[in-house]
Symmetry: C2
Subunit: 210 residues, 2 copies
């Protein structure tokens, strides 16, 4: 009863892949990382367990791919809203660093406060705090590539003299990503566009009088 590969097998695979991502994201938000199983993902996605094991070696691998896909979707949507023909991969460079950073940080706030993102991202972040292996994989595959977009953008501004020569862009970006991450993870205050704007202004110009 072995099936021959049909012309629409790619489309069917794509449909299964998406169902698996959706199931993994929903499940981790509902039961947490520790209690999530490949079996439960398969059952919820309506696929066989072997389908998942054929593509991914572990539940952490499925989940990380699901988050990468979610981030790509969010980026594609944002690019479409901005009227771009292709999804943007870089941080905009309009020549106005303050405006460009505010634009990206406001979008980050929108993503962090999106319920679709919140529950699964919290479950993954919580596990990363106590599970060093997963936390490191999450940072290397998901977070650091995003942070490197800031490094690239800041270096361009630095080359034009808009950022002081002694500043390390990889540390500087943490002046806004750190506070946003802390407010999101520890709920130390509201995540708003006004807050994002303030962080950008304080980071660029400092809190000591100029």
């Amino acid at each position: 009863m072995a099936q021959k590969t049909a012309p629409d097998s790619t489309r069917r695979s794509e449909r299964s892949r998406r169902a698996i991502y959706d199931a993994a994201l929903a499940l981790v938000g509902e039961v947490g990382y520790g209690k999530m199983t490949i079996e439960a993902i398969a059952a919820r996605a309506g696929v066989g367990k072997q389908t998942i094991y054929r593509w991914w070696p572990s539940k952490s691998a499925v989940l990380l791919d699901a988050f990468l896909d979610l981030a790509e979707q969010a980026n594609a949507q944002l690019s479409e809203e901005a009227g771009l023909a292709e999804p943007a991969t870089d941080i905009p460079d309009t020549g106005d660093l303050e405006a460009d950073l505010k634009y990206v940080l406001r979008a980050t706030v929108d993503e962090m406060t999106d319920p679709k993102f919140d529950a699964p991202a919290r479950a993954l972040a919580a596990e990363g705090v106590v599970n060093q292996e997963l936390g490191t994989e999450f940072v290397e595959r998901l977070l650091e590539p995003q942070l490197q977009h800031y490094v690239k953008r800041l270096r361009r501004s630095q080359d034009r003299g808009e950022i002081a020569a002694h500043v390390d862009p990889r540390i500087a970006l943490e002046l806004w990503t750190g506070p946003l991450a802390q407010r999101w993870m520890q709920r130390t205050g509201p995540l708003t566009h006004a807050y994002a704007d303030t962080l950008v202004e304080y980071a660029l110009y400092g809190i000591a009088p100029r």
Copy 2:
């Protein structure tokens, strides 16, 4: 066989309390918040379950008190090392804001990288990410009172014109506490004294050229 209150009952209570704190901190680091029980804390501390219930209504209440006690101990030790007669409750004000902030942030880095603190604090922080009630209680009782020391110190500097008048101290402090929290929780980079110093410098003077 009811015991009369003996002269040393206070000392005995104090010994039990400390044993309970130690047990709670050790357990949460080992098994995580979800699997920690009052029964296990009692067994490890060598006290009856009722002793714990007489003093605390829940395991979260025990744990939060244990962390408050740990923070007080760390502060007392730091104050002793600094040669103070009384434990310091405020951030030092030597008249040099940059030096005072670096002093406190370096001590924070030392605490964050102390193994005694790391495992229990990670377990509590991870639970707070997904458990809004516990997270909020943790922030209100433990984190926010510490952050308010920065607010107080920054306001004194602001009154002397060392911080720009338009700056909100409650947001400004997140320029260093946010990045430290993110590096600690998400392991996005090393937690060192040099890193703490850099955060203070960037936050005070900004990354745009002066």
